[in-house]
Symmetry: C2
Subunit: 217 residues, 2 copies
């Protein structure tokens, strides 16, 4: 168990995936699983699974494998599903409202406590009991409430300014939906969701497949 050693992002990004598969196994009523069996389900090597898990501790047992429920809970703890991170959404356009309606996030340890916009037609409206407030009241809100993460769903051109403002107010996690790489001079964790990047990669791969099929025939 290589505890306190620096864990690579490659490993970290696989954790939510393990968590999902373990959740599925639980639902199927499977109580124990070997790295070999999980390997064939997930399409990665058993060796990688054992390596990954051992970054965080020895969760298995020789000759037995892993207890599904135990491993599920442990990975949940590592990912902080019981932390109840307080999140706010900035920008209540289509994407902001869509995310506000995602009840899944709650299950994974994220609690929406505020939504902000500048459109007067939206102010006062509620989404799942959370009020849409004017962006002008953000300062006071952040001062009065602990806000762990801000979800940025504002138009492209406003994103840098809003990100800067939020970071200055002391919010330490930003989830950015604009197609740009935010850089801030503060100690803030930024996670980008570049939807158009993903779609463009899909387009590229589609073309490549078609090309290779044409060459075959």
């Amino acid at each position: 168990m290589n505890l306190d050693k620096k864990i690579s992002m490659a490993v970290i990004r696989r954790l939510p995936r393990y968590y999902r598969y373990l959740s599925d196994l639980l639902k199927l009523g499977i109580t124990r699983i070997s790295s070999k069996e999980l390997s064939s389900r997930m399409g990665i090597t058993a060796s990688q699974i054992r390596q990954d898990l051992n970054c965080f501790g020895g969760f298995g047992q020789q000759g037995y494998g892993y207890n599904v429920e135990y491993l599920y809970k442990e990975i949940g703890n590592i990912l902080g599903v019981n932390e109840a991170f307080k999140i706010i959404i900035i920008g209540a356009g289509n994407m902001g409202q869509a995310l506000a309606n995602y009840t899944n996030f709650e299950k994974r340890g994220f609690k929406l406590i505020g939504i902000f916009d500048i459109n007067p037609n939206l102010i006062g409206k509620k989404i799942r009991d959370v009020e849409i407030m004017h962006l002008d009241s953000l300062d006071r809100f952040v001062a009065e409430n602990q806000v762990d993460i801000a979800i940025l769903c504002v138009p492209y051109e406003n994103t840098p300014a809003v990100a800067d403002k939020v970071a200055r107010l002391g919010v330490k996690g930003l989830w950015n939906f604009s197609p740009m790489d935010l850089k801030l001079p503060y100690d803030v964790i930024i996670e980008n969701v570049h939807l158009s990047d993903s779609l463009m990669v899909l387009g590229y791969r589609l073309n490549e497949m078609r090309k290779s099929q044409r060459n075959k025939s």
Copy 2:
């Protein structure tokens, strides 16, 4: 110029990022750029930039660097921004509607031609001139129109069945928004957008930062 050689996914996933930075440079009126200068803007090594670009051809000139407009267009072509991929959205809930309103996709070579749902209250409604149709008419629609990509925004439990149906109809690209790894026995390109995975990684990193700050003091 290592043409026709297999290009790694690591390189491919960086292409849209290059494309974004070149677009920014164009807007700034910068006409030429060296790998060194681009390197400092993007925060990756100049060596990596030259390696990446040379997978697709020699776009630069010794002693000069790269012509921004030329490189922008070339990468655009590689990514297929002029292909006008025909896309449909399945599931016109919050996320489906949010994506339907994304005009950005059009600029990057994706044309929305249909939206499908099963909710009778939504059928007939239009989003940006695109009609929401009943899922029952999907078969005929795909038969009568070329559909390159289907965006899946349906509830978790319906996703596998809908994905299977769409793939059977001959759609070769799937953009999946459900938190599951789709596997299909057909030659279909699947690109997953696992929003909750991304958010959980953000939560993990936030916790790690806080831990390390606590240890310092």
